[in-house]
């Protein structure tokens, strides 16, 4: 893991005291709310429906056990004893008091964490493949590159007031677990002619106008990464619209200019930077790489214990993934237990999981963009023991990738922008499909729920997407089908008129019946069936012959 330098610590300390002073000035009236709002947002502090909300950055989803322990402590001391992990690998506290926020930031700084650039029109937390550095398919570990981008983008003077927020995701695998094609910039490390460089995607995004990113560069030399990012951001900063918030994201610019034009503009700009400005030296890259060495020294002949326990077997099948080092596994900890808000974890769980990470996974933890957690390096022979401990704290749900592993935004229960609730919908679904065999029978399926068109719940790229709307004062849910955030990214198609909450579960069951009656074998998952038969079969069953 990256460790802060003395300079990093100094900068963070300064920033924390700066915000403390800004809060004092707001409280004594030296700053109006209009003046204070952009300052609090720059420090991740929002005002939501019931209270303030503090969003804390978890750079590329990587946490140490000490950091998780600190998050537990903060949630208990300053909040209501829980936190919510988000689709951008961050964590949100839903109930902090304004006067406590400077203290929270000081606590965070003590474990090298902060809330900077988790809001505002700047480059946000860099997100990454949660299996980075521990899977066999990638060309190299992408985390050092996330760190390089993080350092470049933090407090970047030119890109602190962009037309709109800006999100970057990085992977190094063909299989996309970081949703790079629905980010403003998506980067994939690839190998070509025995050289490693980046494929660069630009202009993806969800929200009101969803777009799949365009690949604008097939191969970018690693040393020029920052020069190229600088070129993209410069073009966007110059030409992105500032007159209309709904048209301000780079995806709109890319779509309006077209792929060729945006590529040539970026390339022209890049020519000004290349070899001159931000070229990365081998030493610098090596220095960063050293922070990300695997803690496992040797492979082992260690196997997962064969225990005669159905629940354990189900959990291993669903939640345990091979590590690239023999004898080790990656353990996925589902934050979608039955009936709980997706992504939530209470202070007791955080504390215990921190200890488990220390005892079983070299103190490392990762947060996934699908709102789950993982312990990245667990020796196989200790997996049963770990499972027993996870089970005790309610963190052994065997549902990774299944229908109840739902991505869900906070929705109208918390969010000031939401037009409908989303958590109660996810809870209904998880209650309705609470049996493992029933879920297994449905197969791999990604349901994603957003409480408004801003799409924080990624509904556009759900195999089944659910969007909560306000229809004449009543909650109503629009369904999209066929979306995907993988390497074959696609935006879901709207199936038809929306459903009132009371009819939504019926509609979902009809969709699943249509899928099941059309699948050729049990191995053919929902998305494959949808791509083969198209949307009309689903429409017919939903609207023409409702059961």
């Amino acid at each position: 893991m990256y460790k802060y330098s003395e300079k990093d610590k100094k900068i963070l300390k300064k920033r924390t005291s700066e915000f403390k002073y800004q809060v004092e000035r707001r409280l004594n009236g030296d700053l109006t709310e209009d003046e204070f709002k952009p300052l609090r947002l720059m420090n991740g502090l929002y005002l939501q429906l019931h209270a303030y909300m503090l969003r804390v950055a978890i750079p590329y989803g990587e946490l140490s056990y000490l950091q998780l322990k600190k998050l537990a402590e903060i949630s208990k001391k300053f909040d209501r004893g829980y936190g919510h992990f988000t689709t951008r690998q961050n964590i949100q506290f839903n109930w902090p008091k304004l006067t406590d926020v400077p203290k929270i930031l000081e606590e965070l700084a003590s474990v090298e964490m902060h809330a900077i650039q988790t809001s505002g029109n700047c480059i946000r937390n860099i997100s990454c493949d949660h299996l980075a550095g521990i899977n066999n398919e990638e060309v190299e570990d992408p985390r050092p590159w996330c760190e390089i981008i993080r350092q470049w983008s933090t407090f970047h003077p030119e890109f602190s007031f962009l037309p709109r927020k800006f999100k970057i995701a990085v992977t190094a695998s063909k299989k996309d677990r970081a949703a790079i094609e629905v980010h403003d910039i998506g980067l994939r490390l690839v190998k070509k002619n025995s050289r490693i460089g980046f494929e660069v995607y630009v202009g993806g995004g969800q929200g009101r106008s969803p777009f799949i990113a365009k690949k604008i560069k097939d191969f970018l030399d690693k040393k020029d990464l920052l020069n190229y990012l600088e070129a993209i951001l410069s073009v966007y900063n110059e030409l992105g619209r500032r007159d209309n918030i709904y048209k301000a994201r780079i995806k709109i610019l890319v779509n309006e200019l077209g792929e060729e034009k945006i590529r040539s503009m970026i390339e022209d700009k890049y020519k000004n930077f290349v070899d001159k400005k931000l070229e990365l030296s081998e030493n610098k890259v090596k220095e960063i790489y050293n922070f990300f060495k695997l803690p496992i020294k040797h492979s082992k002949n260690s196997i997962i214990p064969k225990v005669d326990n159905v629940e354990f077997k189900q959990w291993v099948k669903q939640n345990v993934i091979n590590h690239k080092i023999k004898g080790y596994s990656v353990v996925m900890v589902s934050l979608k237990p039955l009936g709980k808000p997706p992504g939530d974890m209470n202070a007791i769980q955080m504390n215990k999981l921190s200890q488990l990470s220390h005892d079983y996974s070299f103190g490392e933890i990762r947060v996934t963009h699908e709102q789950n957690i993982l312990l990245p390096h667990v020796e196989n022979k200790r997996i049963y023991d770990l499972w027993l401990k996870l089970k005790k704290i309610g963190l052994s749900t065997p549902n990774i990738g299944l229908i109840s592993d739902i991505i869900c935004c906070p929705g109208m229960d918390y969010c000031a922008l939401a037009t409908a609730r989303s958590i109660p919908i996810s809870q209904k679904i998880s209650h309705s499909f609470n049996n493992y065999s029933q879920q297994k029978n449905i197969g791999d399926l990604k349901i994603k729920i957003s409480g408004c068109i801003n799409a924080c719940g990624h509904h556009h790229v759900g195999n089944i997407g659910i969007l909560g709307l306000d229809k004449n004062g009543e909650e109503s849910y629009q369904i999209t089908l066929g979306g995907s955030a993988t390497e074959n990214a696609s935006i879901g198609e709207i199936v038809g008129p929306s459903f009132p909450e009371s009819e939504l579960m019926g509609a979902l069951n009809t969709i699943l019946k249509t899928y099941k009656k059309n699948r050729i074998s049990e191995d053919e998952d929902f998305l494959k069936v949808f791509n083969r038969i198209g949307i009309n079969e689903f429409k017919k069953d939903l609207y023409d012959n409702p059961q």
């Binding site: 005002l47 019931h50 609730r421 909650e475």
Partner: protein, 93 residues
């Protein structure tokens, strides 16, 4: 703040500046207790809008909003009902 409001009567709500708690304008004060909230007629909106701005500047509240009421005097929108009643989910933490 008062743009596009529906109906003839309203409550004035906000969040307490320090705690962030939901508060309602009551007689001469902001109260966490919804039962203290005073009903505001459309004709008086501008006057109360000024009070809200003043109180935000006095560092008492943040994010003032008018809550629309039905003819029967009930809260019209779900969002405002959730603000009044709290989460609709059992977080059971």
């Amino acid at each position: 703040m008062a743009k596009k409001l529906k109906g003839e009567q309203f409550y004035l709500s906000a969040n307490d500046l320090i705690s962030g708690d939901v508060v309602y304008l009551a007689k001469n004060k902001w109260s966490r207790n919804f039962n203290d909230a005073i009903k505001i007629k459309r004709i008086d909106i501008e006057r109360y809008e000024k009070i809200a701005v003043e109180d935000e500047n006095k560092c008492l509240i943040v994010g003032p909003i008018f809550i629309e009421l039905t003819e029967e005097g009930k809260i019209r929108r779900l969002r405002d009902k959730i603000r009044k009643n709290g989460l609709t989910i059992n977080i059971n933490q």
